[in-house]
């Protein structure tokens, strides 16, 4: 099923669709307020985009620099070509440390690698400790948003989930109550964990350390207790210098939720006492994107989620309609880059309104990328035969002005005299919920000719 079929199911529940739309629009408005309070906002975006371009053009250099400096600090660096290698490295580290219970803070990369099911299969308990992540994990769902993983759920549904898994009071869906219960539940997990896994928001080449941004402090507590900390990062997370960091932290929190800064910005430059810190640097298709000039900018993404919040299609179709780990504009372009065949409808799940490109803190031309992906869909012969035929005939007509005039005339003369049941038959998708325009007797060209006579 492509995006549009799944989206139409989401739209069918108008009440819920509008609730989803409003919840995300609220976040977008908070972001606007925060962004508009900084006079230097556009300057920040420009600098961020330049730092990213610069870094991506010398990624090999900065990655090696990072590795060298991290090793000097006593951190362990691992390289993973793909998801499988990444997961193997994680498993081997856990086994070597005899770790059976793992706490994990938010990381889209481990979602991308499907790490959880892999570890579970190997009899390791893995607990997501970000509240939203934990909720979807208990429900065995994927995150529907990259920053707000459980945004598709209402509090009543969260209450029911907690009732089932955490034995909370029946029908109590008070958010404060549920949060406290989740905290109790997670505290126990934190205290008994043998290892922790985190994502990485930024890896600083110059210092050889990594930075993790959270609002709940779950990465901090998770990494403070167990002796083993594994941090997974994509190759694109590198920034050159420590002083570049503030550009991104200022943009990230404001773009994501409208906060001036995330509640916790944790720097990891050494393992805890007597512990080990392992960093896994993952490619998993990124270097292919890097080598494609049309799409390499998509690696500038700092995963703020602003393009999802602003996307009028995402807000009305929900994260699951995309069928890719990352939904919304950035997910559509990454998904299409990764596997065009599987994600061929995503570049078309877009009106090309360009809101995403203008909201993006890293100035990624998201809508331009989707436009380009469309051409690749056609080139690969993945556009439906019917659509292709229609466009071919239309283009042919358009090359012949007389034919164009004639066709226009025929349509304008015939459609108005046809019975409504034929004009609005099933084939008329436009007419399902919309009237057609009133067909005028004469075209502009005809009127123009009459006028100059």
């Amino acid at each position: 099923m492509g995006h549009s079929e799944k989206a139409s199911k989401f739209v069918a529940n108008s009440e819920r669709m509008h609730w989803h739309d409003k919840a995300l629009w609220f976040v977008r408005e908070k972001r606007d307020l925060a962004a508009h309070q900084l006079d230097e906002w556009e300057e920040l975006r420009r600098v961020a985009s330049e730092i990213k371009s610069h870094t991506m053009d010398r990624l090999d250099y900065y990655l090696e620099e990072f590795e060298k400096n991290a090793k000097q600090k006593g951190l362990h660096i691992h390289w993973a070509r793909d998801a499988r290698e990444h997961n193997e490295i994680v498993l081997n580290l856990l086994l070597a440390h005899g770790a059976k219970r793992v706490v994990k803070s938010k990381s889209m990369l481990t979602e991308e690698c499907h790490l959880n099911p892999f570890l579970e299969k190997n009899n390791i308990e893995i607990v997501d400790t970000d509240l939203g992540e934990r909720i979807v994990q208990l429900r065995r769902e994927a995150p529907s948003h990259i920053v707000l993983p459980a945004i598709h759920l209402k509090k009543e549904e969260v209450g029911k989930t907690f009732e089932e898994f955490l034995n909370t009071q029946k029908d109590n869906c008070d958010p404060t109550y549920l949060t406290r219960e989740a905290r109790k539940h997670l505290r126990e997990k934190f205290l008994t964990a043998d290892a922790s896994i985190t994502g990485v928001n930024f890896a600083i080449a110059q210092t050889g350390g990594v930075v993790v941004c959270t609002n709940e402090g779950n990465a901090d507590i998770g990494t403070s207790l167990p002796k083993l900390h594994i941090a997974s990062m994509g190759i694109e997370k590198i920034i050159p210098r420590l002083e570049d960091l503030s550009i991104f932290t200022r943009l990230l929190a404001r773009s994501a939720t409208g906060q001036p800064i995330t509640t916790y910005t944790s720097h990891f430059h050494a393992p805890i006492e007597g512990g080990e810190l392992h960093i896994i640097i993952v490619d998993n298709g990124r270097s292919d994107i890097l080598s494609n000039s049309d799409f390499k900018e998509s690696l500038h993404c700092i995963r703020c989620g602003a393009c999802l919040n602003t996307c009028p299609v995402y807000r009305r179709s929900g994260g699951y309609s995309y069928g890719y780990i990352i939904p919304g504009p950035i997910g559509s372009t990454l998904g299409a880059s990764r596997d065009l065949q599987a994600n061929k409808t995503l570049p078309f799940a877009c009106t090309l309104c360009a809101s995403c490109s203008n909201v993006c803190p890293s100035k990624i031309g998201l809508h331009n990328q989707l436009y380009k992906h469309r051409q690749n869909v056609v080139k690969a012969g993945l556009l439906g035969a019917k659509k292709r035929a229609i466009l071919k005939v239309t283009a042919w007509v358009m090359k012949h002005p007389l034919l164009f005039d004639f066709m226009g005339l025929v349509v304008r003369k015939i459609v108005p005299i046809l019975p409504r049941s034929i004009v609005y038959s099933k084939a008329n998708v436009w007419g399902r919920n919309r009237e057609l325009p009133k067909f005028p007797k004469k075209s502009f060209k005809e009127l123009y000719k009459e006028r100059i006579k």
Partner: protein, 250 residues
Amino acid sequence: MKIGLFIPCFMNELYPEASMATLRVLENLGLDVEYPMNQTCCGQPMANSGCYHKAKELAKRFLKIFKDYDYIVAPSGSCVAMVRVNYAQFLEGEEGFEQIKNNTYELVEFLHDVIKPTTMSVSFPYRVGIHNSCHGHRELGMASMSERNLPEFSKIKKILSLVNDIEFVTLRRNDECCGFGGIFSVTEEAVSVAMGIDRVNDHLNAKAEVITGIDMSCLMHMQGIIDRQKLPIKTMHIAQILAGDYDGTL
């Protein structure tokens, strides 16, 4: 100064009044306007569907027809964006391309940037909601975008403010997409219609009597919804307001 009037293909067939209004707005300002008869389509539908070669053929055709005009003016932000922003991929380096790229304007933009009229002797005594259609808004820069932190302005509002007796409403979402999106309106029918309904409702709640804008395609989509649901509001291309087409009854 010779102006080539570029009328989007579907407007030629379906919206002769709005097209004629465009011509009259320009003529009323004493401008020399010509409509090249052999024009058809700029290729946008093909380009947005990913059909590179078909779009390229039509872009080349467009170039041939329009390259000798001093200015090319069209009543559509979207089709103008196609020429100014998207044609580069098809025509970069072709003789005459720079000329059409630099001198193709959307009607309101042309008035605002080039002609700069200070009065307009037309009246439109209605409460109007402006639909900021995306390509004009974000590709051509017709107005400040809500996403960006840049000084506020609106070329559309500035030109419309020259019309007597007009009143503007304030929308809750000033520049959200209406969901037309060309082929999106059909391939993603459900979301497209949902977006259109939300947009129309924003105008209704703001007590607008007329939704106007620079793109007939967005207005056609919203009018389709208005007609189906029999809503007490109507759409009107901005050219018809500027030409004084209002005949006393809406």
